[in-house]
């Protein structure tokens, strides 16, 4: 593992754990991160984590600004996104049959919480001030959603560090993937911090 990946791995671990703590607080149920895998893979292969580019997915997208520009994208299969909406509204799983405006709003709020906790954890560890934008909730093909973040990365490199967390909500049949891919600008900023420490 390169030093760069090592530093990034530590931060993703920390950020993910904090983000899940924030989400746990929001929905009032314990969330367990059962697996956190970090890999350096071709950008083009990221969609395989979602079963292919043509699979329908729900994305919660935020941009990052401040010490470095970047993107945060949370992506879920539609059934998982709907399960989160049920959890957020305190309803039994399976209550929501389709993603409504209220559901989108709830998922956006979830993106707010996860983004803020994740970036705060990185900021606390590195001193980098990173600010999330308001979230946008999107439903489309996984490949089309991933284009939003892939283009920036592919501009200068073909591979990306992908953090993939599998988590479950205690007592509930919900699991999902929390996908984190740093942009080159964010990695540069983190490398500069690492050189100083």
């Amino acid at each position: 593992m390169t030093r760069e990946l090592g530093a990034w791995a530590d931060l993703v671990q920390l950020g993910t754990s904090q983000a899940m703590a924030g989400l746990s607080e929001m929905i009032g149920a314990e969330i367990e991160v059962s697996d956190l895998e970090l890999r350096c893979i071709p950008v083009a292969a990221v969609s395989e984590a979602f079963g292919g580019r043509d699979r329908e997915a729900v994305g919660i997208y935020l941009t990052v600004s401040g010490a470095a520009d970047g993107h945060l994208m949370l992506m879920y299969e539609p059934r998982i996104a709907l399960a989160f909406v049920d959890l957020l509204y305190g309803e039994p799983l399976g209550t929501g049959g389709a993603l409504t405006e209220m559901g989108r709003s709830a998922l956006g709020e979830m993106g707010n919480v996860i983004g803020a906790y994740f970036l705060n954890a990185i900021a606390d560890a590195t001193g980098l001030a990173l600010l999330p934008s308001p979230p946008e909730v999107l439903t489309d093909m996984a490949g089309a959603l991933l284009d939003i973040v892939s283009a920036d990365i592919l501009l200068t490199q073909d591979e990306t560090y992908m953090g993939e967390a599998t988590f479950s909500v205690a007592g509930q049949d919900v699991s999902g993937v929390f996908l984190v891919m740093p942009t080159p600008g964010l990695l540069d900023a983190l490398s500069r911090v690492a050189e100083l420490t």
């Binding site: 489309d140 093909m141 490949g143 089309a144 959603l145 991933l146 284009d147 939003i148 283009a151 592919l154």
Partner: protein, 169 residues
């Protein structure tokens, strides 16, 4: 009289990939295009088909890549056209389509993303024009993903989007 050969296999192009084929049993596809643009070309005389899955508009703004040689619109389109003509296609016969280039973000981040889909589409039109060619038809823009498939056998094309059935183009 027999019709076009049935498609036996599909070659799906990933980000930055291109492919040409004269195999009538093959189809070429770009799956889940968002802001990316597919360059699609077919020569009805030789039956030669070409496709590129392009990600970014301008090679001078980034770094070329051996593993994703078609990632930039301005270099991918001349590359595919050159390779097709080298195999016997004639430029003036090429039936060219552009697909994709969506603006996936509709909210506040739309400006932040610099509307890359629109820039890709504009760059693709310019690259086609620069070769002295014209775009036969395009399905670009909007705010949704698309999948495009091209049958090498007869140049027929289908475009599908989430929640819609495939439309022949």
């Amino acid at each position: 009289m027999s019709g076009p050969a049935a498609v036996v296999r599909t070659t799906a192009l990933s980000l930055g990939e291109w492919h040409i084929s004269a195999d009538p049993e093959e189809s070429l596809a770009c799956i889940g295009l968002g802001s990316c643009v597919a360059f699609v070309a077919w020569d009805p005389v030789t039956g030669l088909a070409g496709m590129a899955h392009m990600v970014l508009p301008d090679s001078t703004q980034g770094r070329e890549s051996a593993t994703a040689p078609a990632k930039f619109v301005d270099t991918a389109i001349p590359l595919v056209v050159d390779r097709m003509t080298a195999r016997g296609a004639r430029r003036e016969r090429l039936r060219i389509h552009l697909v994709g280039g969506a603006g996936m973000l509709q909210g506040v981040q739309r400006t932040n993303s610099m509307n890359i889909g629109e820039r890709n589409t504009i760059a693709a039109r310019a690259a086609v024009r620069a070769l002295g060619l014209r775009v036969y038809a395009e399905a670009t823009g909007g705010g949704h993903g698309r999948t495009v498939r091209l049958s090498v056998a007869d140049g027929s094309m289908t475009i599908s989007s989430p929640g819609s059935s495939a439309v022949a183009a």
